[in-house]
């Protein structure tokens, strides 16, 4: 099969052997030996909206029970990873570079690990939309690290068919071996997940790309494909070069197709899933188990590097206990040494994005030499797999000229770290891009807020103008009506109130006030108003369906009226109730 190449990339030391010596272990079982064990399950674990909590402190939950419901379609549910009692729904520190907190469900495990009722989901019997909803509610997200909700990726492109389904088993970052071990040990299950993906996407073929430094995984996967007799699937060994496991790079290597930033790859006839995701789909569909655990590599500065099947929500100190971090440990990194993030502490939980916990030490990851100015040597451009000019992005990001940085395609940067890896000036280039990106995002949301405020303000001005106009119109109408009524009243006055009124009227009239301005005279005005009200009352006929009401009905109407009034005031706080 013809393979393609991508530009750039680097070949750092891989360090993968240590953690592949022993098979996947089950991370410390919850609540052993009577010790209390808490799981901290963040509600927000995927791209998109934060799920709404479905439980509160004191509730008992079962393993696999949904505890957070997807907030709209661009979101994914979360589940209890074991059975036990919810002790709190509160803010806890997140595995995030900021070290900030977010809403988490804290579960005290009861040690019984009691499942909810599990039922396979027969996707052949359901529509595509129903299957997507099922996967959303099963909390399946991309396990390669980006945690993009999987159900959003399962829609074939134009024409309802997909040329190529790509399964990413490249795993190019140093130290990380979770996909490698998963493929070695659970190849059959992965292939069953690939079958589901292939069916859902109506894919013509499925290519499973694995870097050629994982011969055992390649063999296992090839065997599984052959055992299943899948003619439309192929396991492909791709050259080992970081970042061959980037989705865009792997698509390029396997098919020659380049998916630009911001475009859906299905529009180009390809879609890419991580092997872990395929495994999670298999568990969700065929076994009825939502995503409550994942394989996590523990590597780096530890006595016993190893892969663990860890429950989501397991605090890192629990996970790390078996691997024994060495005394000179100075940091914990989630992810690999190229793209990972430094964690704020060891109490943060394993989340769906946690593919690796890399334990760092000054020996393993020495502090960077001092940053020198960029000399535009172009090494970064040679290493950039996105074919960018990283030194230009740096130049403008550093000077906070974000518009220019965007012109040089800042957002095509995948933050793989190759540029910083090769930089002779030791510039933390990716930090500058992250900074520029988050500033640009903040500016954009500020701009959106400003636009909204402008709209609100202009609407208010419009409304005030209209109100003023209406008020003036009402005033004018009332004056006109008053005048008309006054004329009538004056005509009627002698009849209804002969003596006093006429005397008063003539007195006023004689006091040099013209008769044509009766509104300014107090007593005729009162009389006019009284007369007008009287007339109005006489004219008003009650509608037929509101006569002879029972007290209950009247009470109901009153309640409805009250509610309407309330709604009116809420919607238009400045409007008169009848506007």
């Amino acid at each position: 099969m013809q393979l393609f190449d991508f530009n750039g990339g680097v070949t750092p030391e891989y360090h993968k052997e240590a953690s592949t010596q022993s098979p996947i272990a089950v991370s410390p079982a919850p609540s052993r030996n009577g010790l209390k064990n808490f799981l901290v399950i963040p509600l927000h674990q995927s791209i998109g909206g934060t799920p709404r909590p479905l439980v509160s402190a004191g509730d008992r939950v079962l393993k696999g029970q949904r505890i957070g419901a997807a907030d709209g379609d661009m979101s994914s549910a979360v589940h209890a990873s074991t059975s036990g009692q919810v002790v709190a729904v509160e803010m806890r520190r997140m595995p995030h570079p900021s070290g900030l907190s977010a809403l988490c469900v804290v579960i005290e495990a009861d040690g019984r690990d009691e499942w909810i009722a599990r039922q396979p989901f027969d996707y052949h019997q359901h529509t595509a939309a129903e299957t997507r909803d099922y996967l959303r509610d099963a909390g399946v997200v991309g396990l390669g690290g980006a945690v993009f909700p999987t159900h959003l990726k399962i829609s074939p492109g134009k024409g309802g068919k997909l040329d190529t389904l790509i399964i990413n088993g490249a795993e190019c970052e140093p130290f990380i071996t979770c996909d490698d071990l998963l493929m070695r040990e659970r190849a059959e299950a992965i292939i069953q997940g690939v079958v589901i993906l292939r069916d859902l996407l109506a894919a013509g073929r499925a290519l499973i790309g694995i870097e050629d430094n994982k011969p055992q995984a390649l063999a296992a996967m090839t065997a599984a494909v052959q055992a299943g007799g899948h003619q439309d699937m192929a396991v492909v060994a791709v050259p080992t070069r970081y970042p061959a496991g980037g989705a865009k790079q792997l698509i390029r290597v396997l098919t020659g197709i380049e998916v630009p930033h911001g475009k859906r790859s299905t529009d180009y006839g390809v879609q890419c899933f991580n092997v872990g995701t395929a495994y999670a789909i298999h568990e969700a569909i065929n076994l009825g188990q939502p995503l409550i655990s994942r394989i996590v590599t523990v590597a780096g500065n530890v006595a016993a590097p190893r892969n663990y099947a860890a429950l989501i929500g397991t605090p890192l100190h629990t996970l790390l206990a078996n691997s024994q971090p060495l005394p000179d440990t100075d940091r914990l990194i989630m992810g690999g040494p190229m793209m990972g993030i430094t964690l704020p502490g060891d109490e943060v939980p394993v989340v769906k994005a946690t593919n690796c916990i890399l334990v760092g030490s000054p020996r393993l990851f020495p502090p960077p030499p001092p940053e020198m100015p960029c000399i535009r040597c172009g090494e970064c451009a040679k290493a950039c797999p996105a074919d960018l000019q990283p030194f230009e992005l740096y130049w403008f990001s550093r000077a906070k000229i974000f518009g220019k940085a965007q012109e040089y395609h800042l957002f095509d940067c995948i933050e793989c770290g190759c540029c910083a890896y090769v930089c002779p000036s030791h510039i933390p280039l990716v930090d500058y891009y992250r900074f520029a990106k988050s500033e640009i995002w903040a500016n954009e949301s500020e701009k959106a807020a400003a636009d909204q405020a402008r709209e609100q303000y202009e609407f208010r001005q419009l409304r005030e103008a209209r109100e003023a106009q209406e008020k003036a119109a009402r005033l004018a109408a009332r004056t006109a009506a008053g005048r008309a009524a006054a004329t009538n009243a004056l005509a009627m006055a002698p009849v209804t109130a002969p003596a006093a009124t006429s005397a008063a009227a003539s007195a006023v009239t004689s006091a040099a006030t013209p008769v044509t301005e009766p509104a300014q005279t107090p007593s005729p005005q009162a009389a006019l108003i009284a007369a007008a009200l009287e007339r109005a009352r006489a004219q008003q006929v009650q509608p037929a369906n509101t006569t002879n009401l029972t007290p209950e009905q009247q009470a109901e109407i009153a309640a409805i009226e009250a509610r309407r009034a309330q709604i009116r005031t809420q919607a238009h706080p400045h409007l008169p109730p009848d506007d």
Binding site: P373, W395, A399, I401
Partner: protein, 194 residues
């Protein structure tokens, strides 16, 4: 034909209006912060300068010289140029509001751009005929535009440089202009080649 080419090339490179004759520095410094504005200004100046050279030649040849009014040259040229600039501004404002906005206050500045007066006067001094005048004016303007664009390119990049505080902005721009002028001295002698 080659002599015409030499007039244009000489005006663009060897006797560049900005770098060698040091004319038109006001818009050169003022409108060169961004490439877009520099191109716009260059285009507007090219139009005005070529027009100015043609009309001033005609005025000189058919109005001033027959009446022995050569002493009115500067005055009448200024008036003519001012009128052409105003006309250009009105036309641009109507036809391309974006360009007008980009050029902003600098469009009227062409009026006071000494290059636009200087080149017609040089024309008279060099006793160019109409075609030569137009070509010399065009060449001068292209040279001005070239200078503007090159300078704007460097300034856009300098915006990201860690220039010492006291030299930021106009100061470093002046130094850069000086060094560019130095580079253009390398063209010296090319127009005198036998």
């Amino acid at each position: 034909m080659t002599s015409y080419l030499f007039i244009v090339l000489g005006a663009v490179l060897v006797n560049n209006v900005v770098f060698v004759r040091i004319l038109g520095l006001c818009p050169f410094m003022g409108v060169s912060k961004k490439l877009e504005t520099a191109i716009g200004m260059g285009a507007a100046t090219t139009f005005v300068l070529t027009m100015a050279c043609g009309t001033s030649y005609l005025i000189d040849r058919w109005l001033l010289m027959p009446n022995q009014l050569e002493y009115l040259r500067t005055l009448s040229f200024i008036v003519t140029i001012a009128a052409i600039v105003q006309l250009t501004e009105l036309v641009i404002q109507k036809t391309s509001p974006m360009l007008h906005q980009v050029l902003g206050i600098y469009l009227p500045l062409i009026t006071t751009n000494c290059a636009v007066l200087g080149v017609p006067l040089l024309n008279i001094g060099m006793q160019h005929n109409l075609v030569e005048s137009l070509l010399f004016g065009f060449g001068g303007a292209v040279g001005f535009t070239l200078a503007m664009i090159l300078f704007a390119g460097i300034r856009e990049r300098l915006e990201g440089a860690d220039v010492p505080v006291h030299f930021r902005g106009t100061a470093i721009a002046m130094i850069t202009a000086g060094l560019m002028s130095l580079a253009f001295m390398g063209f010296a002698g090319l127009d005198k080649y036998k």
